[in-house]
Symmetry: C2
Subunit: 230 residues, 2 copies
DNA sequence: TCAATTCTTGCAGACTCTGCAATCTCATGT
DNA sequence: ACATGAGATTGCAGAGTCTGCAAGAATTGA
């Protein structure tokens, strides 16, 4: 990268929509600035990628456009890729996880897990114009998709763990003794992986289509389709 | 990395087992050297990682141990990670794919796809001592796992595409018209993803256990477990 | 043995990312 | 309002990855 990529103006960035009923200045100035900077970096990297191509964009360019020092970039994101793909839209919170793990035995584990995941996706607040831009870029560069998947890998571990606990609780309750301990783990892993596939499927269809259909509804569709498969 | 990590001797590298009935010197000298170099690099990076830790290993170290120049390293692998995780054990070959895509309509697509994947895994010739070492290292550094997954991402595209063709052929044959074209794609993607989950599951269990049980048999187990789930 | 092809290597250079220390900005209590 | 501390930004130096290029070495096939 030698071209300086002039510190361009920023046209199409819609002002961030603040969720209704969300305290506007409840957060201190510090926090507000932080968020603004983060957003600005995310826009910068996406706009540059869209306009100049993925491998033409350097951290220096991004910093120039986002109006921060290159060093500061790395205070916000651990890598260039991280800024490109953003946070995972699925974050497991402890309470729901606990509820799932200790649900009454005998239920359909896959269905319950799915409900859990669906719940997660409800909590997502997307910055619309940022999200649109990100989807556009990801459509242009499918390899980013893989990075996104990696960023969701931690979820695999978490889900497996929670499913395993659920299976153990179930077995303890019904008194049915599974063949071996390893069998639970194997089962839990498979269940987690299948769920992740479904999330991945829903996410993919969400990303592909431009309709603003919410992620949860895509998830429902995917789940139905999964059930139809089997 | 400043420490030179002495160009150590190589103890535990078992000589590569040549599959029976495989011409020993049917390949020219050139090709044989190339393979030896590749193998030597793979061993080097794995041994160094095992002995000194993942982020302590540099390309310079690897090259020193493998006895090549750092520049040559990149003639063999596009990145350090690539050398670490090795090739994907699943490579789709055109002929089997074609057979699958044009199988007689009405069959169980998921089952057929699974058989296809199973077939792929049969073709894998593993260099045993290299494989053992790699599994050990991957167990120590689960993040490598994610990289491995990424390296299999291309398979997702290929599988989806082939499933889509199969679904199209099926529909054409039975005359049943699906609601929309997009529906096929969605369905194909889901099927591919679920299959990949199963492969991933089988692979994970293969990697976790030390038993030399072949990958195909693990695949069978995983498939059975999947069916039991639904 | 000659010539074509394919590999290896060194070198220069762009780029990513980290630790450190100086400096600056926001938050908080008095 | 002001002092003080916690948190952020920045520049700099340095290690490490990876690429293009061109010269030189090895293998192949005739």
């Amino acid at each position: 990268m030698t071209s300086p990529l002039a510190a361009a103006p920023e046209p199409e960035r819609a002002p961030e929509q603040v969720p209704i009923g969300d305290d506007p200045a409840a957060l201190g100035l510090r926090e507000r600035k932080r968020r603004a900077t983060r957003r600005s970096i995310e826009f910068a990297v996406l706009e540059l990628t869209r306009d100049h191509g993925l491998d033409q964009v350097t951290v220096d360019d991004i910093s120039r456009v986002a109006d921060i020092s290159p060093r500061t970039f790395f205070n916000y994101f651990p890598s260039k890729d991280a800024a490109l793909v953003g946070d995972s839209p699925f974050m497991l919170d402890g309470a729901s996880a606990e509820r799932f793990a200790q649900a009454k035995p005998g239920g359909d584990v896959l269905a319950d897990l799915f409900a859990l995941v669906r719940e997660l996706s409800l909590g997502v607040t997307v910055d619309l114009s940022l999200h649109q831009l990100r989807l556009k870029v990801m459509r242009d560069y499918p390899e980013l998709f893989a990075i996104k998947v990696v960023s969701m890998r931690s979820l695999e571990t978490v889900l497996t763990e929670v499913v395993e606990r659920r299976l153990a609780a179930d077995a303890r309750a019904t008194g049915a003794v599974e063949p071996s301990v390893g069998a639970w783990h194997s089962r839990a892993l498979l269940i987690a992986l299948v769920s992740l596939s479904t999330m991945r499927h829903a996410w993919g269809r969400w990303a592909e289509s431009d309709d603003p259909d919410s992620l949860p509804s895509k998830l429902d569709e995917s789940y139905r389709e999964l059930r139809g498969l089997l």
